[in-house]
């Protein structure tokens, strides 16, 4: 699992897409933190909101485009290896569970590193690190990673997961917020399956997001263990 995770982690730092995502994250963190005071003077905010104003840019970015970024980088993490048959080298050497969880930890560590650097950058202006918001953002990214891995296991063609990654990345946040606030009883139950419902609360219910992510990862593992490579 460690070997797989290390390879996945390091490979994520290579390539133009990763570079662009890292730059967007860091620039958003930097400028939203730097100009947080401008926002504070323009809008009326509660004391709690004002306290977290420096992270609002990064939080908004991950809420709205996080799924798109994660899918953009990792939509083919599983199916490309199956499609190109390099997965045969892997499954004949280690367990499928180690491969899947190794890939998950590699991707997760990449995002953890990016977010940690972003929060450190923000802390320069905010003069503090808000671990609660950091954990919330991390739970959201964990959910997005697991959803991306699940799609990559479910769909065998990398080209299709790329397309689906873009569609889901754009629609999922809109749909997610809609089901949280809609009164339509036929769809409102879905809010319990999206991370937005748990993030909206200002308590530790966001930890449920980690459970949802874990369920998706277990489902992905069950499917992958039955899949032919």
């Amino acid at each position: 699992m460690y070997v797989m995770g290390k390879r996945e982690f390091l490979s994520l730092f290579k390539g133009v897409k990763s570079f662009i995502v890292i730059v967007i994250l860091l620039l958003t963190s930097y400028y939203s933190a730097k100009f947080a005071n401008v926002l504070m003077s323009g809008i009326e905010l509660s004391a709690k909101e004002a306290e977290n104003i420096h992270t609002v840019g990064l939080l908004g970015l991950i809420l709205l485009l996080g799924q798109l970024f994660v899918a953009g980088l990792s939509h083919d993490t599983m199916n490309r290896e199956i499609h190109e048959r390099t997965m045969r080298f892997l499954v004949t050497r280690t367990s499928r569970t180690s491969i899947l969880f190794g890939k998950f930890f590699g991707i997760w560590l990449f995002w953890f590193s990016c977010l940690a650097i972003s929060f450190i950058l923000i802390s320069i202006f905010a003069e503090r690190i808000d671990f609660f918001i950091f954990s919330q953002v991390l739970s959201l990214v964990t959910y997005q990673i697991c959803l991306t891995i699940l799609l990559s296991v479910l769909i065998s063609k990398p080209g299709f997961t790329m397309f689906l990654g873009i569609v889901v990345g754009l629609i999922f946040p809109i749909f997610g917020f809609w089901v949280v606030f809609t009164k339509n009883v036929w769809v409102s139950w879905m809010k319990f399956m999206t991370p937005f419902y748990y993030l909206e609360r200002e308590d530790y219910t966001f930890l449920v997001i980690f459970i949802l992510a874990g369920i998706m990862l277990v489902i992905a593992n069950l499917i992958f263990n039955r899949r032919e490579c």
């Binding site: 390099t86 004949t92 050497r93 280690t94 032919e228």
Partner: protein, 301 residues
């Protein structure tokens, strides 16, 4: 000691059976050849044993461990039939990554030694994307042996290689056997299998049609023996009588003095033919017996 044991191992896709209940035992230290036409089920059989696909029914054990079991994976080496590699990795990086994944990280020296064994020593730092088909094959073999496994599966290891590389791989296979490794290989090169393998199985339509060493295959098989006899002149009066007798003794008879060429099914017939010629007041000067090759046996299957 048994390296591979399968009992009624079966693989079906929907209602279509590909491998039909194979019972097989491969002893440790053997070079076992697995033959069959395209689509006979050879690769499917290997893929089941190596965990690439799951059997529909039946059981198997590798090195005494019932499969599928992840614990045995570090003791087996696999060269899949498809030579796709990570284009962005060099040969050396491939060896390091995949040996580490097997749980036995290879040192730089052992990596270089393995690359030398397969003839890729000069391409250690070249990216796999720039490799030719033959080089990919060689790296595939290197990857199968890098973690020093006890049981090695090679799916068509020499297809697409030049003659020099083929000889190098043959040497490597016999070297591995000498080090106590068990090799299970498929090949379309029948001469190669005949030369290297201690036992051979011929697969036909998902089943094992013949199995044994070359001698056993020859004797069990209803294969024919071609005999060419050089003789002294046969009196004209005896020639018709001899021809009639030979026609009943075998097939593909050809009588062109001073030779008689005939194909028989039973080697006991050879002595009878010699006696028949001698009874025609001719001397037998030379007898050439062409044993059935693996190719003959394979083509008859």
């Amino acid at each position: 000691m048994i390296a591979i044991e399968t009992k009624q191992l079966t693989k079906s896709y929907g209602a279509v059976p590909i491998v039909k209940g194979i019972d097989l035992i491969v002893e440790k230290g053997e070079i076992f050849g697995f033959l069959g036409r395209n689509g006979a089920g050879k690769s499917t059989f290997i893929n089941m044993l190596t965990g690439i696909i799951q059997p529909s029914s039946g059981t198997y054990a590798l090195l005494g461990v019932n499969g599928p079991n992840d614990d045995v994976k570090e003791r087996i080496g696999v060269m899949p039939d498809y030579s796709t590699l990570y284009g962005s990795l060099t040969a050396l990086e491939h060896l390091k990554f995949l040996s580490a994944l097997s749980g036995k990280p290879a040192g730089k020296e052992w990596c270089r030694e393995v690359l030398t064994l397969v003839g890729l020593e000069e391409h250690a730092r070249k990216k796999a994307a720039k490799f030719s088909f033959g080089m990919k094959k060689k790296l595939g073999i290197a990857l199968a042996i890098i973690h020093d496994p006890e049981l090695i599966f090679l799916d068509e290891p020499t297809s697409g290689l030049d003659a020099e590389s083929v000889l190098r791989i043959h040497k490597l296979i016999t070297w591995l056997q000498a080090r106590g490794k068990t090799i299970f290989m498929t090949s379309h090169n029948l001469a190669e299998v005949e030369k290297l393998c201690t036992r051979i199985a011929i697969m036909k339509e998902g089943k094992i049609a013949s199995i044994g060493n070359m001698e056993e295959l020859r004797s069990f098989h209803r294969s024919t023996i071609k005999v060419k006899i050089k003789h002294s002149p046969i009196p004209v009066s005896e020639q018709i009588k001899l021809q009639q007798w030979l026609e009943s003794a075998g097939t593909d008879l050809e009588m062109k003095a001073p030779y008689v060429t005939i194909t028989v099914e039973d080697e006991k017939k050879i002595a009878e033919i010699i006696r028949a010629i001698q009874q025609c007041r001719a001397d037998v000067l030379r007898v050439e017996v062409k044993e059935p090759t693996l190719e003959d046996i394979f083509l008859e299957e």
